[in-house]
């Protein structure tokens, strides 16, 4: 099996991964870096549980070929709280407002929300719903997730 060596920035740190060239970013995060926050809910771009940020944009890491990560910057759910453990406002808001139930969709949901709020600090409900349309959740009916993101926007101000 052919391997590649890919250097990139992961949650702020420079890293290099030596993995099979066929691996996706998701598999590399989970198996090489043991960052299991991003989940595989489908493996084919249809659920959003694997959402991470690449150069600030939300992507399905399950479809992202690892060689494409070379030189880029990747942010995962493990990298958004402060170094001292203080939660990111979106994380806080999800706990505060019951935006999380079983939690399986949560990492991806929060990363989608982060991509949105980084670009648009004052989104409408429609903006929020559009930004998480690719993140399925079976537990919440999305209502309190939308509210959590609205709350996070306020917290960030």
């Amino acid at each position: 099996m052919k391997k590649v060596s890919v250097s990139f920035t992961l949650n702020g740190d420079p890293v290099t991964a030596d993995v099979p060239v066929t691996w996706t970013l998701l598999k590399t995060l989970r198996e090489y870096f043991e960052l299991t926050g991003a989940k595989e809910g489908c493996g084919v771009g249809e659920c959003g549980a694997c959402t991470v940020l690449v150069d600030g944009k939300a992507v399905n890491s399950c479809l992202y070929p690892i060689p494409e990560v070379e030189g880029r910057s990747v942010t995962t759910i493990e990298g958004i709280a402060e170094k001292d453990g203080t939660l990111h406002p979106i994380q806080k808001a999800f706990l505060e407002n019951n935006g999380v139930q079983c939690g399986f969709c949560t990492s991806g949901m929060i990363m989608s929300a982060k991509a949105l709020l980084d670009q648009n600090p004052d989104p409408s409900e429609e903006d929020i719903r559009k930004s998480i349309a690719g993140n399925f959740c079976r537990c919440t009916g999305y209502v309190q997730i939308v509210e959590s993101i609205q709350m996070a926007a306020k917290l960030k101000e």
Binding site: M1, K2, V4, P20, V21, T22, T24, G43, V44, G45, E46, G48, T51, K57, A58, V59, N60, L63, Y64, P65, P67, E68, E70, S112, A115, K130, S131, A133, G134, N135, F136
Partner: protein
């Protein structure tokens, strides 16, 4: 077990060189949202994937006379383009309803039409907007009208060594209003059960020119020429539009089939209903922009 090599050339020349070197053993990958899914589902891959993501200067949307959209432009760029939203709303709507933000952030317009799924969401709008695509190969480039691009389900005129470098929409489309409807059971993360794109130009209240394009209505995305012909020179009236819808939905224009996502009669019904609705919307949009 799946194994492939992955090349990331940063110039077109390098892409052509690799394409020639590997021949049919190579496959192009852009956003990878079709390619990666197919590899996972079929457990088969080409020997070499040649990535186009290094061709960053092919990611653009420009207007100078014609509209020019680069071969590496993502749906997200189209969705965030005010130019497109104002002047080519059908394409804006097609692109912005593809998958999710995550998909649109990487998936490209070129990938959508090169993959040539009968359901491709941008195919209808491009047909309704008289698009032409530029294919470049080691032996030069050629321009193909989108109406001649699709040759079958998942098949196009593109040669194995060619890269789609630009999509071009002629300047006269500025005078058209356009609209795209994607019929689906839920509002996101869906392929269309059927797609309807309409563009038209009015002369007072008379339809002077129109395009009606349909997806999932035949093995390839198609134009409903008979319906367009019927509309030519007719007034913008309910009865006229309804008849155009009926013609568009009939075997004169499409070959509808029953599939898991929808039955033929239902697709016909949606075409019948939405050709008029999109025509109205397209007409409104002309008035707004001009």
């Amino acid at each position: 077990m799946i194994d492939y090599d992955y090349k990331r050339p940063d110039s077109l020349e390098e892409v052509f060189r690799l394409l020639q070197e590997y021949g049919p053993r190579a496959g192009l990958i852009a956003g990878g949202t079709d390619v990666m899914v197919k590899i996972r589902n079929t457990k088969k891959a080409p020997e070499v994937l040649i990535s186009l993501r290094g061709l960053t200067d092919l990611a653009y949307i420009r207007k100078n006379g014609h509209y020019h959209i680069g071969g590496l432009t993502t749906h997200r760029m189209l969705e965030q383009s005010e130019l497109l939203q104002n002047e080519l709303p059908a394409l804006y709507e097609g692109a912005s309803r593809i998958g999710s933000v995550q998909v649109r952030n990487v998936a490209t317009l070129a990938g959508n039409i090169c993959n040539a799924a009968p359901s491709a969401d941008t195919a209808g709008p491009l047909l309704a907007l008289d698009a032409r695509v530029t294919l470049q190969g080691p032996d030069g480039e050629r321009r193909v009208p989108i109406t001649e691009f699709f040759t079958g389900a998942y098949r196009t005129v593109r040669k194995q060594t060619e890269v789609l470098t630009e999509i071009n929409i002629p300047a006269h489309m500025e005078q058209f209003g356009s609209a795209y409807w994607k019929q689906s059971r839920r509002k996101a993360m869906n392929l269309p059960i059927v797609g309807i794109a309409v563009s038209l130009r009015l002369d007072n209240d008379t339809i002077s020119d129109s395009r009606i394009a349909l997806t999932v209505a035949a093995p390839t995305p198609i134009r409903a020429y008979k319906a367009e012909e019927f509309l030519a020179g007719k007034p913008m009236e309910d009865a006229v539009l309804a008849e155009a819808g009926r013609i568009a939905a009939s075997p004169e224009c499409c070959t509808l089939r029953d599939s898991l996502r929808g039955e033929a009669w239902y697709r016909a019904r949606i075409i019948e209903v939405y050709v008029p609705r999109m025509a109205r919307l397209a007409a409104e949009r002309i008035k707004k922009t001009h």
